[in-house]
Symmetry: C2
């Protein structure tokens, strides 16, 4: 197991996570999920942030791909929630600053 290769891989993950959080709407989604600590659907987020549902779907995918959120599907509705393990690993203490 090469330590330097792990370093590179971890860095790629860090960069991906920072990119995901470097967008106002995604950051607002994270805050709502954290503060109201509940799940949200695409429709709810779209209504609250005043952006189209296709854009919301795009942001949901971006957050999920880097492991910051996970999705629970009930019928045709998908509920988004925070993946706390990822925050603990890469950004410990960050959520509490929101």
């Amino acid at each position: 197991m090469d330590i330097e290769l792990n370093q590179v891989a971890a860095d790629q993950q860090r960069v991906a996570i920072f990119k995901a959080l470097a967008e106002p709407n995604r950051l607002r989604i994270i805050r709502v999920l954290y503060h109201e600590h509940r799940e949200m659907t695409c429709s709810e987020v779209g209504a609250q942030l005043q952006i189209s549902k296709s854009t919301v779907s795009y942001h949901f995918k971006a957050l999920r791909l880097v492991g910051l959120t996970n999705t629970r599907q009930v019928a045709q509705t998908k509920y988004l929630s925070l993946q706390l393990a990822t925050f603990d690993r890469y950004l410990p203490g960050f959520l509490a600053t929101l």
Copy 2:
């Protein structure tokens, strides 16, 4: 003092910080500054990361503008170091994960 306006301002700062960190070369600069906990010059960084000095200067400026680093000038040489207060405020615990 309007709480919501503070929220918006803090979010803009957060997004700016995440953008600054969402770039592989800048992240490497941060790690070197942290792990070897010393100051570095543009020339040193350019030699170590194999990028042109104009690009290094560009990254230094990006990091400084969002308050992640500060600069100490000695003659015509500028030394970069971490602004730990900013990390503590917006990303407590992050540096220790590097």
